[in-house]
């Protein structure tokens, strides 16, 4: 082995060592980053969407960044749990303990029957500031899935042939001023708990 060959050999060995160190470092940081992403603290941003509100204008969730928002999924042909929930929310937002600027958004799970006009007439019963959101299934389905809202048409035996009810997820999603999901409530929470959540999760 000549001196030149030996030097080249040492150089190659050093290069290999450096490469190995760089590779190991890279390999080590990938899972760390992944672990951090999976388990580290994160803002848990509310999935953004654009739907049509009850006035016919496009509504984009992120446009409300800076104010707390509560999302509730339901439909106007729901006589029992949906109006019970909206009535409690209407009462809760009037409480002095609730943030004054909170907005309640009611997303329909029944776009076939809940047109803008139907939503507008319905929401006036509770609070004219409530936002009613509708759209086609093709724009609503991704929203349902992003917010884990299952929906399913349920035929009802009586009444008109086109009559059906819609079984649906009934969680209240509380989105804070920063746009992150801060907590969840349920349709059957009582008004005092809703007031607490409005305050806590703003």
């Amino acid at each position: 082995m000549s001196a030149v060959q030996a030097f080249a050999g040492r150089g190659r060995a050093r290069l290999a060592t450096i490469s190995l160190v760089v590779l190991l470092a890279a390999v080590a940081t990938i899972p760390l980053a992944a672990l951090w992403q999976a388990f580290g603290p994160k803002p848990n941003l509310a999935p953004n969407f654009t739907l049509t509100d009850q006035t016919g204008r496009p509504f984009t969730l992120s446009a409300l960044r800076g104010v707390p928002v509560v999302l509730f999924f339901g439909y106007t042909h729901c006589p029992d749990t949906c109006p019970a929930t909206l009535a409690k929310l209407a009462q809760a937002v009037r409480s002095s303990a609730a943030p004054r600027d909170v907005r309640i958004a009611f997303v329909t799970v029944d776009p076939a029957r809940d047109s803008q006009a139907v939503l507008a007439r319905y929401l006036r019963l509770f609070n004219p500031r409530f936002i009613g959101l509708t759209g086609t299934f093709s724009v609503l389905d991704p929203v349902y899935s992003a917010y884990h809202v299952w929906r399913e048409d349920v035929p009802v035996n009586h009444g008109p042939a086109d009559d059906y009810s819609v079984a649906h997820g009934a969680a209240l999603t509380f989105i804070g001023r920063g746009g992150a999901i801060r907590g969840y409530g349920s349709w059957d929470d009582d008004t005092s708990l809703m007031i607490h959540d409005l305050k806590e999760f703003q």
Binding site: A38, K42, N44, L45, T76, H77, C78, P79, D80, T81, P83, A84, A87, K88, A90, Q91, V118, R121, Y122, L125, F126, S145, A146, H148, W150, E152, V154, V156, N157, H158, G159, P160, D163, S165, V166, A167, H168, G169, A170, A171, I181, G183, Y184, G185, S186, W187, D188, T191
Partner: protein
């Protein structure tokens, strides 16, 4: 005879003032009936009491202000056993925040039982009447309603539309 008629009328007035509807001689009575302001679809809640010794059941209802009145039951499917974070819809972003996974639905029922010597409450999240309205209802309105019981027959009830709390 005259006296008993006067008594019956007085009793009827007293009962209706107390918000209790009862057909003469019937063991079935209806109290605390109420509804909410509504567009399109209204609800009726009430307490059905059976003072008799035989079971009875509500089998139907009609109202002149409705195209249809259905007997319904809301139900809730708790999905606590279902992992909300393991789904294919990106639930990982939920972190460890517990999410109420309940799904509410409504089914039509052919009858609502009223046990002898007992009562059945029509209330939010449970049994209720679904009223397909001919016109909108506001607070202060009333729903004239006829309830049909399998044994006790027809019973008339006037349901007040309460203002929202």
């Amino acid at each position: 005879m005259k006296r008993s008629i006067t008594l019956a009328i007085a009793l009827a007035i007293a009962l209706s003032a107390a918000g209790v509807a009862r057909a003469a001689g019937s063991p079935i009575s209806v109290s605390d009936a109420w509804s909410r302001p509504a567009t399109g679809t209204a609800v009726v809640y009430a307490t059905l009491r059976n003072a008799g010794s035989a079971p009875d059941r509500l089998i139907g209802a009609t109202s002149p202000i409705a195209t249809h009145v259905g007997l319904h039951q809301s139900y809730e499917t708790k999905m606590s056993g279902m992992s909300m974070s393991g789904g294919s819809t990106g639930g990982g972003s939920m972190g460890n925040m517990p999410m109420p996974g309940g799904m509410v639905g409504m089914r039509s029922v052919s009858s609502i039982p009223v046990p002898p010597g007992g009562s059945t409450m029509l209330k939010p999240g449970g049994y209720h009447l679904m009223v397909d309205l001919r016109h909108d209802l506001k607070a202060g309105d009333t729903i004239p309603l006829r309830l049909h019981f399998a044994n006790a027959g027809w019973l008339a009830v006037t349901v007040p539309v309460k203002p929202l709390p």
